[in-house]
Amino acid sequence: MATATAGTTPGKPMSLGQHILDKGTEMLQSLKPVKQMQQHVCTFALYSHNMNRQIETHHYVTRINEDFLQCPVYDSDTARARLIGIEYIVSDRIFETLPPEEQKLWHSHAYEIKAGLWVNPRVPEALQRPELRNLTKSYGKFWCTWQTDRGDELPLGVPSLMMSPQSVGSGILNPELVKSRDNRYGIDSDDLKKWRVEIEEPEWINPNADYWKNTGKGFSTEVEETEMTRKAPYP
């Protein structure tokens, strides 16, 4: 799996010179955008084009406002973690304003939260509760840019659209995947699920989300050649 036993990226180890450069630039630069990340969420995702491929994910969440969050996604929570993509999260209020064509690319979060799959490692469940309540009604759009689960040592190909785990059909997670995560953090998703019974289910999950559920269709991303624009788009 892409996680605890993270593979190694090919390349020489960092030189001392590069370490010093990095430290030096870090002291001189403000790095404000990356210092806004306030939550580490561990959960799971499935490739839209092949839902048998399922991965554990680590999201480092920045809240931009009450209705919008943005997260770089890594394949583990270690310093060697590989950046495997980006997820955007919007509230139901915003989701309902999106065109239907766009809604098809998003997934719902209610199930993975209610099922105890979505956790903030090391945060007490009670502290997590208010945020989880908010997020059950949210939708996410996750592009995976590095398929470390198939053993890619470097990021190959184009981004894949990801879906969320669900209670039915191809959305059901491999229990081994969940167990391995649970063991690593000393948690039990089944216990969490019982605890989270009292989080209300959303009254409405827009059926355009989780597109595969109604259609059996996923999306694969392909590259096409186009005429190159000669100048940068202005602005």
Binding site: K32, I86, L98, P235
Partner: protein, 229 residues
């Protein structure tokens, strides 16, 4: 972005963060570990004002988050992976067109590290000039999108003079107090990839765009029962 002559950044829709929400986040922020993001050490600014925050995986590979500004509420618009010429050469030929060279952006002065003195920057840029990058944007803020809509864009790099609008360059120079002309001279001595820029890189000279195709993933779920527990 105002200084670059670009339109006002489209506002992200949504309510201001409630105090309760931010309290919980401050608390979780204090409890949780942030190992992957604490590795981020470098800030580059380039091209049409995007800001790269980069972490080294090792000496030959960096992974970067791309933001539209350097502020606390900056929008996360994409990712870039940067590899050495060595690693680039190991990529399958079908993969190479997705990567772009950095030689021109470095040598032209377009790419710089805000706040870092020239001589220190150049030590690192000497390395960057020999690398290849692969960049995806998920949020077309240049089109004025207030939310990340549609499919990812694969980004090309500037590879020669005349591709960047002078207004943009001037805006950046003013904002960061840099002179690209002067930097260009200072970087004269820097050299690109040892084997020259690979002919398959930079989209083989073509533009590339991504499209989604519907594929069968599995049989649809018979009844979409919304049972959670």
């Amino acid at each position: 972005m105002a200084t670059t002559g670009a339109p006002e950044a489209a506002k992200i829709p949504g309510e201001p963060t409630k105090t309760g929400t931010s309290l919980v986040e401050t608390a979780t922020g204090a409890i949780q570990g942030f190992a992957p993001v604490n590795k981020i050490h470098q800030h580059f600014c380039g091209q049409v004002e995007v800001h790269h925050y980069c972490a080294h995986q090792n000496e030959e590979m960096r992974q970067c988050l791309i933001y539209d500004s350097e502020d606390a509420d900056a929008r996360l618009i994409g990712v870039e992976y940067i590899v050495s010429e060595n690693l680039f050469m190991t990529l399958p030929d079908s993969e190479k067109p997705l990567w772009h060279s950095h030689e021109y952006e470095v040598k032209s002065g377009l790419l710089f590290m805000p706040g870092v003195p020239g001589p220190v920057q150049r030590q690192d840029l000497e390395k960057v000039a020999k690398t290849y990058g692969k960049t995806f944007h998920f949020w077309q803020i240049d089109k004025g999108d207030g939310l990340p809509l549609g499919v990812p864009q694969i980004m090309a790099a500037f590879t020669r003079d005349g591709q960047l609008y002078p207004e943009i360059a001037q805006g950046l120079e003013k904002k960061y107090g840099v002179s690209m002309e002067k930097e260009r001279e200072n970087r004269e001595y820097i050299t690109g990839p040892e084997h020259g820029i690979h002919p398959l890189a930079n989209g083989k000279g073509k533009g590339l765009k991504l499209e989604l195709r519907e594929v069968d993933c599995k049989q649809p779920v018979e009844s979409v029962a919304r049972v959670f527990v």
